[in-house]
Structure formats: C-alpha cells, structure tokens
C-alpha cells in the first residue's frame, strides 16, 4: 500500500494525519464515553496531539467530536430509558452559570499569573476525592451486602448522601419520573452549579465531575446518571464546537473521521451498560479517574511521555473491559433467546 493512502491531509491544521489512528481514537472514546457517560476530552486531546495535531486544534476538534459522539450515545441511552430529560434541562441552567463563574475565576488567576499549577493541583485534588469516594462507596456497599443490609430496590448501597439532600424541602419540589425520585429543584440546580464552576475553572466538559455528583448527591441510579450526563455533554459540546470554530481551531475532516469510529464504539459502550451492574460501572469509572489523575501529576512534573503512556494504557484496558462485557452479555442474551424460542416451539408441537 502507498504511504499516502494511510495519511489524510488536514487543510486547516496543515498536517498529514494517520487516519486509522483517528478512527481508533473515536472508537475508544465512543466506547468509554458511552459506558461512563462522559465526553472524554482528557483522553482525546493527548491522543490527537500524539497523532500530530497542534494542541489548539486538538482541543477544538475534540470538543466537536464529543458533541457528535454524545448525540449517538444519548440516542441509544434514550431508547433504554436511561435519559431523564427533565433533570438534564434543569441541570443545564446550573451548569451554564457555574461554568461562567469558573471561567471568571480562571481569568482572575490568569491576571495573577498563577493559572497553570493551581488549576492542575485543584484538578488532581478533585480527582483524588472522586476516586476515593468511588472505592469507599464500593467497600461500604460490599460490607452492607455481606451483612445483609439491603435497602429498597437499589440493593446494597454504600454512600447515601443523596438521602439527606432529598430531605431539603425548599419549593418547588419536582418529581423526576425516569430517575425515580422527588426532590427540591434547587438540589440539581445547586449541584450542577457547583460542578459547573469546577468544570469552568478546570477547563473541562464536566462529565468526570457530574456523573459521580448525579449518583452520590442527586441520587440517580448509575445507568440514568450515565445517560443524563451524556445529554448534558451533547448540549455543551455543540456549543463548545461553535465557539471553538469561531476561533478557527477545528479540523472538520478529522471530526468526521473520528465520528465514524465513535458511532461503533458508542453502540458497544452504551449496550454494555445493559449487562453491567451499577457498581461495576462505578468501579471502572474510578479506575479511569485514577488514570487521569496520575497522567496529570506526571505532566505537572514534565514527564510527558509517561503521561501519554498512562492515558493510552488506561484507554486500551478500559476498552477491552467494556467490549468484553458487551460481547459476553450479548452472547448470553442471544443464547437465552434461542433457548426460549426452542422451548416454545417444542411446547407447540
């Protein structure tokens, strides 16, 4: 094969890019994002950078791709009944205001000339907190299960902060039918406002913070947290795509190539949630957060190659894990279906 067959010219960024690499990145992030309910900018941006995109183009291209990919995943999650649109819309307001304040804080720090290290260490601090929360929650739920303490239809639970927060009785009280709870509208608005501030401050989409917040603070079942968060990522991603394009930092050809891979990955990641237990998703999410945290620490100390290795290693391992869940689950479902059909046919005869 000719060398040029494998390389695609990107007219705006002015670089030649190995296109199967783009498809692979799209596929991986589609799989992981569909399973965890996050955009995955922390995975795509370094990947694009490694393939040869200048950093500014990597960020803009990444955001546009995330918007399209989240759209595909949201459509699939919606069919499973995993998206609470009412909750998503209510949270959107808090997110927008929060991002604004977070961004203003960044501008203030920028004027002081301290933006880089402060942001990175705040990011690391939050990631450490989230990963600790996820693993501690699992440990507590496991202990509760062993002790036979199973409450309601959620089964054994670890951290149940949302129960205390649901007692806040400030009107209007809103019932979220898909998520299956009633709470003060100010709870999701407040939580999304805080996660929005952090997202704006850290310069990220926010899925990494919003997904655990939906589970631990708002009380969403894990599957619905994943679907609803993807809906939020889709809206903010489309907006981000528009503004980054206005800045001229987007490579549309790359977005489309990545989306093609992401379409397949998103189906696998989303359908895999059907066969995974809520806590299985949470634990894998915790591992992803740890990988993200380690890579940022390595970057902070200038060990960029190792940081990329950690990110790419985590992406590969998570992809293999999710794909195996999907195929094992699908095979078992088809086997059961065939057996049921055979039994029904035998009964009729």
């Amino acid at each position: 094969m000719e060398h040029s067959f494998w390389y695609l010219h990107m007219p705006i960024a002015g670089v030649e890019i190995f296109w199967p690499g783009l498809v692979l990145i799209g596929f991986s992030v589609g799989t992981i994002g569909g399973f965890f309910g996050m955009g995955g900018a922390w995975m795509v941006t370094p990947g694009l950078n490694i393939l040869g995109f200048p950093m500014a183009f990597a960020i803009g291209t990444d955001i546009a791709h995330i918007a399209g990919k989240s759209m595909i995943s949201t459509m699939r999650h919606s069919k499973f009944g995993n998206v609470d649109y009412k909750l998503g819309f209510v949270m959107l307001f808090g997110t927008m205001f929060g991002i604004e304040i977070g961004a203003q804080m960044i501008m203030w720090l920028e004027r002081l000339g301290k933006v880089g290290p402060i942001v990175r260490w705040v990011y690391v601090g939050f990631l450490a907190m989230i990963s600790f929360m996820v693993f501690y929650d699992y440990y507590k739920a496991d202990q509760a299960k062993k002790a036979g303490r199973i409450s309601g239809d959620k089964g054994a639970e670890g951290i149940t902060w949302y129960k205390a927060l649901h007692k806040i009785n400030i009107p209007p009280m809103v019932h979220f039918k898909t998520a299956g709870f009633t709470c003060s509208a100010w709870l999701p608005i407040g939580v999304s406002f805080i996660t929005g501030i952090l997202a704006g401050f850290l310069g990220i989409g926010g899925g990494l913070l919003r997904m655990p917040a939906l589970v631990y603070l708002i009380g969403c079942p894990t599957h619905i947290a994943v679907g609803t968060d993807l809906f939020e990522v889709m809206i903010s991603g489309l907006y981000g795509a528009f503004t980054y394009t206005l800045k001229g930092r987007i490579e549309l050809v790359a977005v489309f190539v990545m989306l093609t891979g992401a379409a397949i990955g998103a189906q696998i990641g989303t359908v895999a949630t059907k066969y995974a237990k809520g806590y299985g998703i949470r634990i894998a999410f915790g591992c992803a957060v740890v990988a993200c945290m380690v890579s940022i620490i390595l970057k902070q100390y200038g060990i960029d190659v190792m940081a990329a290795v950690v990110i790419l290693g985590a992406i590969s391992a998570l992809c293999v894990y999710i794909v195996s869940i999907m195929f094992k689950g699908a095979a078992a479902e088809l086997r059961d279906k065939k057996e049921r059909e055979r039994a029904a046919a035998a009964f009729q005869n």
């Binding site: 007219p11 500014a56 960020i59 503004t243 977005v255 489309f256 806590y279």
Partner: protein, 99 residues
C-alpha cells in the same frame, strides 16, 4: 411558587443564551494567531468550498460545523440503530442492578 419557578427558568434561558460568549472568552489565547486553510492541496469541490469558507467567513463556517456535526451524529445514530436492530438484541429495555 410555580409562577416564580417559571420566571426563574425563563430568566435562566435568556441568560444562558446571552452569557456564554464570556464563558468561552476565558479559554486559551490562541485566537491571536491567524490560521489560513491551504486550499492549494484540496482537490474536491466540497473540500475547496469549506476551506475557502474557513478563510473568508468564519461565522458561516462555524454554523456549518455545528450543523454538519449534529447532522452526521444523527445520521450515524439512526444508521447504527438499523444495524443494531438486526442483531436480535433487546435494545429497548434493561434491568437496573446496582450491586
């Protein structure tokens, strides 16, 4: 109280449309750099149109970028839906098991 909530929602909607420009203004300062798409190496007519648009009318290019990304996302979503429905898997229901 409901009326108040509705008013707050309406206010938030307006603000969420007006405010975001400031949000993204806080992004990186790479916009100082002028990037020009190299149309000399683009062979297809469509590619040339978009490369020219990038160089001449960034606003229209941004609108196209969002519309095409969303449109392609929806197209892929529906296409994959057709393919997935042929696998025989139940794609409309799932049990939520947390632990």
């Amino acid at each position: 109280m409901r009326a108040l909530f509705r008013r707050i929602l309406a206010f938030c909607s307006v603000i969420s449309v007006l405010v975001p420009a400031a949000v993204w203004a806080a992004g990186e300062k790479a916009a100082m750099l002028v990037v020009v798409a190299d149309t000399r190496r683009v062979t297809s007519d469509i590619g040339k149109y978009f490369a020219d648009l990038y160089n001449t009318n960034m606003w229209l290019f941004a609108v196209w970028a969002v519309v095409l990304t969303a449109g392609y996302g929806v197209f892929l979503g529906f296409s994959m839906d057709i393919i997935m429905s042929r696998t025989g898997l139940d794609l409309k229901s799932r049990k939520i098991i947390e632990h």
